[in-house]
Amino acid sequence: MLTYLVRRLLAAIVLLFIVSAVVFVIFFLVPRIGGATADDLASRYVGKSAGQAQIHAQAVRLGFTDPIWVQYGRFVKGVLTGADYDTGAGIDHCPAPCLGYSFITQNPVLPDLLDRLPVTAILAAGAAFLWLVGGVATGVISALWRGSFLDRGLMGVALAGVSLPIFFTGLLSLTIFSYGLKWTYAGGASPMDATSPLDLVHRMLLPWITLAFLYAAAYARLTRAGMLETMNEDYIRTARAKGLKERDVIVKHGLRSALTPILTIFGLDLGLLLGGAVLTETTFSLQGIGFYAVQAINNNDLPKVLGVTLFGAVFVIFASLIVDLLYAVLDPRVRVS
């Protein structure tokens, strides 16, 4: 078990290196292949009226004039040991793990990300709770009354849920509940300013529901399919043959099996969301990691983009590790092998 864990952790680190290299290549090397010179890249990060000499000085300062592997090596070294940056107004130290300095705001990336993590985490956790409960309950009900009008109705809603994009459902709900009925804040209500738990719910309910709707729809369909399959298993018949009450047959024997694969998907989804719920955060102007990522891309702020990507990758990789460990707990057949 311990060797397995160590092996998985080492694999996770290797994977992070690969991710960082790929992202580095996409943002730093591909433009060069496309014909952009070091000065062309640097010209984005100086004032509009800057002369050629200023641009070149900026290119040298940002390291664009060095070969690509030297640039990547510098980045990796920063992550491992920290780095010192010349901000123009002096030398700033960025302790390890240093994800670099913003080319535009001159702020180190990691503290920015950590600042925004709570917003994203609150958004993801609330939505995750809603979609897990709502999606699984819907799926179970649909499976038990398979073919009924209830089933068809719920699955119709679920189909809408997976098909409708968040910027549609989000804007629609904002129009109705915020601007129309004035029940909630008109977006941009940061959960960090909440004065009470109730106020937090008031601020976050709309984004939570919007995000949860998308996932709940998928989970409802997964749960329904899983329940239909497990309820036909021989061990369900055995449970009934023992004289077990139908409710216990469904929950203890049926749902227990159907939920196992769903919980593993849940872990991955949650990990992915912690790296930024881009559409929801943008639609509701929540200053989370997703919002940060969009800004970074819009501004061509390469260190930020790189940082967000790696940050998200860490969550996904560790979520999948936790999921694998959890699977062994949930399914005893995996434990032995």
Partner: protein
Amino acid sequence: MSQSTEETTTATSRRGAKGAESVNTLDGIGGLGAPPPDAFLSVRDLRVHFPTDDGVVKSVDGLSFDVARGKTLGIVGESGSGKSVTSMSVMGLHKPGTVNMTGSIRLDGTELVGASEDTVRELRGKRMAMIFQDPLSAMHPFYTVGHQIIEAYRIHNKVSTGVAKKHAIDMLGRVGIPEPSSRVDDYPHQFSGGMRQRAMIAMALSCDPELLIADEPTTALDVTVQAQILDLIRDLQSEFNSAVVLITHDLGVVAELSDDIMVMYAGRAVEYAATDDVFTTPQHPYTWGLLGSMPRLDRVRTERLRPIKGAPPSLINVPSGCPFHPRCAYADRTGGLSQSERPPFAEVLPRHYAACHLTPAERTEIWENEIRPTL
């Protein structure tokens, strides 16, 4: 068999008398009269029909039998003959709304057909229990064997988990699992096939059921393990004095274990008698076919095994007349009767029922001269 001969004779004479009447009243299917007094499970004219988009599947269509405490009835037939549907009906395990069930299933006098779901559920596990074909898929993979036995025991006995666990360990020991106190915490996949079936039996017997239905209990097992499991069922039956219904397609298995044999074909009984009678004087061509396709180890065969030609009929469009006639080598000897009229399920010999249009003389002649010498 011998000690119960007296009981069965009285039961037989009664069956015989009423059987003759019901030949006419029950469309020639019922055959058996009122259940004998010692019957623990009695099934009369059971019909289990499943409405589907393609038509009504008549999985069981007029079935009657009795099982007494301490006795074993073997139900034999091909796949799709209605054996498993019968056992599921007795246990009340058909999904409500998918099935039309008529007739009568009485467990110690309690009518189960039309009884409320709760009534049947109370009996399940407690007074009647079932062993399934494939013990790996029949046990929940996520719970320990002990947990599953404890669960079965605690449904019907209000005891603490600790007491139930002691009982589970005791049961595992009784079905011959070594070191039961440590194996009780193992998961089903950690057991071998034979051990799993033993654990399944321990679970089924945990509440001392008076009726045990074993649906192909040895089909998924190695031959050597099969014999052990059959021995175990027999030993436990004499210990618990339960009525056993043994469902199988293997005549060898029923020969080993059963007091009576019922041969099923297309949802009906075609022959029903004491085990010895079925093997010494079988009265139905289908039974002859089963005997001919059964490998025997006790003598040197000169010929190959002879499979029964054709396939079991569709249960939506059951052949007219005798459902076996398209596959029966002797159907043309009845002058078209086999094709046009359903044969009555009648007492053709004392306490020996069969549904066939051949005359007793023809049957004896065919059996003695054509079938028996080739077995």
